[in-house]
């Protein structure tokens, strides 16, 4: 059961981040230069692989209780950021993320930027694609490393993330446009809930607490988090007209 949640969380988080990275790469690729944009993607992928390869084995050396406390605490703080934003989006306090709008903004900036060539590449296209993939990918790497190490299976978490990356890349090549039909905001809500759930679960174990039923209580924690989140969305939606 925990393994299913683990793979699903890594898959969803990775899919959402890669859809955003794809929009950035498409915008600079179409408006500037594909070779430079793809070189940026390649360089960022290498950097991310190096980070995971270096930190992954190092994390497995830490005793599991300490690891779960640290990873749980990090996931809790990180996950609450995601969940907070997702609840504010769902209740109308923050505008929904729109890939078409993001693409138009990136493309306009790319057209306006000056041309500077370094190492035979359009430096703007290279750096924007590199930064976009690295920053979005860093969140995926963070989730894969924390989830994987706390559960004792980094390859399983990496599998979930890898499948998502592959699907997004294939969909991007086929569509040759931003993936606007991916329900990103709903997926972000789900990821925020899952990150927070795993954060609570592992951090509590790390502090010495024992869950009734062990791993079987994980769906219960998830259900509680969903209930709390939906309640806050409903409360904020009700409050919003009074603020307008």
């Amino acid at each position: 059961m925990t393994a299913v949640f683990l793979v699903l969380s890594a898959f969803l988080a990775s899919a959402v981040e890669m859809v955003e990275a794809l929009t950035i790469v498409l915008a600079v690729g179409v408006t500037r230069d594909w070779r430079s944009a793809l070189s940026g993607v390649g360089a960022a992928t290498l950097a991310l692989t190096a980070i995971v390869a270096a930190l992954g084995p190092a994390l497995t050396l830490i005793p599991i209780d300490t690891l779960r406390l640290v990873v749980g605490a990090l996931l809790l703080v990180f996950g609450l950021q995601w969940l907070r934003k997702a609840i504010l989006r769902a209740s109308g306090y923050v505008s929904l993320h729109d890939e078409e709008e993001a693409y138009a903004r990136e493309a306009t900036e790319a057209r306006a930027a000056g041309i500077e060539r370094r190492a035979g590449l359009d430096w703007y296209a290279f750096t924007i694609a590199f930064k976009g993939v690295l920053l979005e990918g860093l969140e995926v790497a963070f989730i894969v490393l924390t989830f994987g190490s706390a559960q004792g299976s980094i390859p399983l978490a990496a599998l979930g993330a890898g499948v998502a990356i592959l699907l997004v890349v294939v969909a991007g090549v086929v569509a040759h446009a931003p993936l606007t039909r991916v329900p990103e905001n709903t997926m972000k809500f789900a990821v925020g809930t899952m990150l927070t759930t795993f954060g609570i679960f592992w951090a509590a174990e790390g502090t010495g607490a024992t869950w009734p039923g062990g791993d079987a209580s994980l769906p219960g924690v998830l259900a509680f988090e969903l209930l709390v989140s939906f309640t806050f969305v409903a409360l904020l939606r009700r409050r919003r007209p009074a603020l307008a």
């Binding site: 406390l69 605490a73 990090l74 809790l76 703080v77 990180f78 609450l80 950021q81 969940l83 907070r84 609840i87 504010l88 306090y93 860093l138 969140e139 963070f142 927070t196 609570i200 951090a203 509590a204 790390g206 502090t207 010495g208 607490a209 024992t210 869950w211 009734p212 209580s217 924690v221 509680f224 988090e225 709390v228 989140s229 806050f232 904020l236 409050r239 603020l243």
Partner: protein, 65 residues
Amino acid sequence: MKALRRFGAFWWEFVVGDDWRVAAGVALALGASAGLAATDEPAWWLLPLAVAGLLYLSLRRAARR
């Protein structure tokens, strides 16, 4: 020194984000959970409730802006 500060600021923004009070609240809740667990009393219920409370306070601050 400047690069080190920028590196720290990046990771702070990456993990903690724009509401540091949530991170501080999580640290306090973890301490309370460890304290309760050390007394052999059930402590599993504390973190879910603390997280719900922290989320409520953070959302309330954001909604008031």
